[in-house]
């Protein structure tokens, strides 16, 4: 588990107020009883934590499971880092 994944799991557990041990890659939002309103808060907390902006097309409210969140965020974080290393190339 890398740092991105760990932080996202922490955020999901904290924002949705669920046991951290229940948060797994293949757990669906339904499994975790995460309503869309919780997801909105999770996305907000992720944006603040990683200092990224998550467009709706990258991570919509129809997200299925925890791994989808991690994949989307990792991509944005990588883009963001690449962008800051080589401005104008992102």
């Amino acid at each position: 588990m890398d740092e991105v994944e760990t932080k996202i799991f922490d955020i999901i557990a904290k924002e949705a107020r669920i046991d951290r041990a229940l948060v797994k890659s293949d757990a669906t939002m339904e499994d975790l009883k995460i309503a869309s309103v919780d997801l909105v808060q999770i996305v907000f907390a992720i944006e603040v934590e990683f200092d990224i902006t998550i467009p709706e097309e990258a991570l919509g409210l129809d997200v299925k499971n925890v791994d989808e969140v991690v994949v989307a965020v990792r991509k944005l974080v990588n883009e963001s880092m690449a962008g800051s290393k080589a401005p104008g190339t992102a």
């Binding site: 107020r17 909105v40 808060q41 996305v43 907000f44 944006e47 603040v48 902006t53």
Partner: protein
């Protein structure tokens, strides 16, 4: 259908205290809650005093998950609603249903949320605000939170008419219960606007006192802000009696008017029309009234105008009225003002004690009624009015009478 309407529950939170017994103890003692502001940095303020709610810890009052969606304005409303429902013997209800309403006044809604969010954007160059910014700041949020808490599925909405918001809400709910639209209503007002942005806005109008609030008094310098909420349980009198609820007072009249004149300057004619309207609606004559909880903001303009309006309506009886402005103690709570003042009026009628106008220094020739200066007075109150007059020229007056049983006893 024209049913008699009882008030069977009252909840109140403001600078004077966090429930009605605490608020009333202070008001009856004539103690003012106006003090140096703690929740906003005073260095940029000219008017540095307000009547803030103190000793209120939301963390201990609300579930953390709920609290994230509650602006201070909703927190106050829920606390006051809880006290009112407890008093009415309905605190355990969570599915009250569609024959109940929630009509709640607020001048501006979630100002704390608005102030914090915009500061992030404008001052801190932030790129995002919290996702609950809108649902927290909307003016109807407090009303909606109460519907969800008690499962009230009938009419529910917010009323916004600046400083008359609470009285307009209470009056509207009263008419709904009286006409049989609903069998129960939670109504009142809530406000939490002691923020830097709001305080600077009020300062700019040059109506704020730099010291304290001295309604109807010589040496008055203007208003001082307060905050809080008052919530009432209204139901048909016969329902209340049938279920053995304590009828605190009977709500009998509601009068409203619009000046259609100036956006800020008050009109004695407009105020008088609303007062007359409340008497007429309640089947009252001027000599029935013993006490008026005045709008009494302590601005140079309001107090002589309100005095003139009272004299126009009451004639010779005006001199016999006890008239006090409890804003001298809990400050001007804007959209919650009428609710705080009705709560105190009800406590006064129950106790047979008229609360004073605190901070009174001496008579002003333009304000020549009996303002119960500085010290409460033991005096039975058969019926009372509570006045609210708002910017925009919107006037709303509530009339209450002693509960029927209390009248028999008296």
């Amino acid at each position: 259908m024209n049913r008699r309407v009882a008030i069977t529950g009252v909840g109140c939170i403001c600078g004077l205290g966090n429930d009605l017994p605490a608020v009333w103890a202070e008001a009856a003692a004539g103690r003012s809650a106006i003090r140096p502001i703690e929740n906003v940095d005073q260095t940029r303020l000219i008017a540095k005093n307000a009547a803030e709610v103190r000793g209120f810890d939301p963390e201990t009052r609300f579930d953390p998950k709920l609290l994230g969606a509650l602006d201070r304005v909703s927190q106050f409303a829920l606390v006051a609603a809880e006290e009112a429902m407890r008093g009415a013997g309905l605190a355990g209800e969570t599915r009250i249903g569609e024959m109940a309403a929630v009509i709640l006044g607020s001048g501006v809604g979630g100002m704390t949320t608005l102030d914090e969010s915009f500061r992030k954007l404008y001052a801190e160059n932030g790129v995002r605000v919290h996702p609950f910014t809108i649902p927290k700041l909307m003016i109807n949020a407090p009303a909606c939170q109460i519907t969800m808490r008690y499962g009230i599925t009938g009419p529910a909405y917010a009323v916004a008419s600046a400083c008359s918001s609470a009285n307009h809400a209470i009056g509207t709910a009263f008419h709904m219960v009286r006409q049989g639209v609903v069998d129960l209503a939670l109504t009142g007002g809530t406000e939490a606007t002691i923020t830097l942005g709001t305080l600077k806005g009020w300062e700019a109008l040059r109506v704020m006192a730099p010291d304290t609030c001295r309604p109807f008094s010589a040496g008055r310098r203007g208003m001082v802000l307060g905050e809080g909420a008052g919530v009432f349980v209204l139901e048909p009198l016969d329902h209340a009696i049938a279920r053995g609820a304590t009828v605190l007072v009977e709500l009998v009249g509601f009068g409203m008017s619009s000046d259609a004149g100036d956006l800020i300057a008050p009109s004695a004619d407009g105020a008088a029309r609303a007062i007359r309207g409340a008497l007429r609606d309640g089947g009252l004559v001027p000599t029935d009234i013993d006490y008026i909880n005045a709008h009494g903001t302590a601005t140079p303009a309001n107090d002589p105008t309100e005095t003139k309006a009272i004299k126009a309506v009451f004639g010779d009886h005006a001199a016999k009225l006890a008239v006090s402005s409890t804003k001298s103690m809990h400050g001007h709570a804007l959209g919650a003002a009428g609710a705080l003042e009705l709560a105190i009026t009800i406590a006064a009628m129950r106790a047979g004690i008229v609360p004073p106008t605190a901070n009174y220094l001496g008579p002003d020739p333009a304000c020549d009624l009996d303002y119960v200066p500085n010290t409460a007075r033991v005096q039975p109150v058969r019926a009372a009015l509570s006045n609210s007059f708002a910017f925009g020229g919107l006037n709303a007056v509530i009339a209450v009478k002693q509960a029927p049983s209390a009248r028999v006893v008296a």
